[in-house]
């Protein structure tokens, strides 16, 4: 049977992709952020997951406002990264696992999560930067197969933290009912506090970020009390990306242990978290 063996929280800041392209990882501004990934690399290298389920949000590459699904799942053979319009280098194609994707989609709809199913899905920095962070310099990404889970974080109304957590739980139920022996890691990418738009641009809330990360591990359901509006007021318009972390956490069954946490602020305009969780 397929088994979820751990979870990773990661930033997906475009400036990180730019820094990788310019090989700035050891510059003073970037050093602690990139070095903060060493425990993740060790863990991935030791545990060698077969599949990564990646919660991310599209930033106007694949989805436009003509059709804006709240939740979408990739079911493609591979995922291609495209020009996003502002100079971020594309990365090598990422392999999918359509059999597992369809199993998850079938199970989710049965479970009353009526997702959009994508047999083609162009992926942007929301997914590509985490892939570069997890597998630096490796165009094969250690052979891992990816299942993208895309959550709308662009057009209001956006789903609640609770709903995203519950989606994660439903995905975990789907994975654990899959009959192939696969090791699965779950990634939540994006956030934490940041605001790109308006006169409040540059809003960051370190205290709130650290509280979110703390409760995410020990009592994620406590965080259900924060509405999308609360998240924006506390930590900026794009802090809603924390929904990706809620999905990730929901997908982690059993007893959860935090193996690593790094928090860098500011990275570009953002509070950036790197987290590694295991479950037993």
């Amino acid at each position: 049977m397929a088994k979820i063996i751990g979870a990773i929280g990661s930033s997906h800041i475009p400036a990180v992709g730019m820094a990788i392209a310019k090989q700035l990882q050891q510059e003073p501004y970037w050093k602690s952020f990139f070095d903060g990934h060493q425990p993740l690399w060790n863990w991935l290298n030791t545990n060698k997951p077969d599949v990564a389920i990646v919660f991310y949000n599209d930033h106007g590459l694949e989805f436009f406002l003509d059709k804006k699904p709240t939740f979408s799942i990739g079911a493609a053979e591979q995922y291609i990264s495209y020009d996003e319009g502002w100079g971020l280098a594309t990365i090598a194609p990422i392999q999918g696992d359509p059999d597992l994707s369809w199993h998850i989609c079938n199970s989710l709809v049965e479970d009353e999560f009526d997702i959009s199913i994508c047999q083609e899905l162009g992926v942007d920095h929301g997914l590509t930067v985490p892939m570069q962070l997890m597998f630096p310099g490796d165009p094969n990404y250690a052979g891992i197969k990816v299942i993208p889970v895309v959550i709308n974080c662009e057009l209001h109304p956006m789903p609640s933290l609770k709903r995203c957590y519950n989606l994660g739980q439903a995905i975990a139920r789907a994975v654990e009912s899959y009959d192939k022996d696969l090791k699965v890691v779950v990634l939540g990418t994006g956030g934490l506090s940041h605001q790109l738009d308006g006169q409040a641009a540059g809003r960051i809330n370190k205290k709130f970020d650290l509280m979110l990360l703390d409760y995410l591990v020990k009592d994620p359901e406590y965080l259900f009390k924060y509405s999308i509006r609360d998240m924006i007021e506390a930590a900026g318009a794009q802090a809603v990306e924390f929904n990706m972390w809620m999905g990730m956490r929901g997908a982690l069954p059993g007893k959860v242990e935090q193996l690593h946490l790094n928090y860098s602020v500011p990275i570009s305009n953002t509070g950036a978290g790197t987290m590694l969780l295991s479950n037993t």
Binding site: L65, P157, Q199, A200
Partner: protein, 117 residues
């Protein structure tokens, strides 16, 4: 009851909701096109003609011409699409942050550093 039923303004923030998305549909559709290099070239070649192709209002065209991000947001622009317009102008999100807050780039970066303390 939606969280969007709370109409109290959040300081310095415009929620990109249905109303904004309707207002800014053409503007955002134009910026979405900037994912393609051919579209970026066509825009640079004749900005006004390219804007008119997407049925931008006169106010939106003027805000595009004036690189007025705050005005574009008020007129229905989504920051995710405006980021592509900014990129076309050779600006990143820190440049845009400085523009919107009336700070120099150095001051905006300082503000971020201070927020992280």
């Amino acid at each position: 009851m939606s969280y969007l039923d709370n109409k109290t303004a959040i300081p310095g923030t415009i929620l990109f909701d249905g109303q904004q998305s309707r207002k800014g549909y053409g503007l955002n559709k134009m910026c979405f096109s900037f994912n393609q290099e051919s579209a970026r070239t066509a825009f640079i070649d004749n900005e006004r003609r390219y804007c008119e192709k997407f049925n931008l209002s006169e106010g939106q065209i003027i805000a595009i011409e004036e690189r007025d991000i705050l005005s574009l947001l008020e007129q229905g622009g989504s920051i995710y699409y405006l980021a592509k317009f900014a990129g076309l102008l050779g600006k990143n999100m820190q440049d845009i942050g400085a523009l919107q807050t009336g700070l120099t780039l150095a001051e905006f970066k300082q503000k971020l550093l201070k927020a992280g303390e």
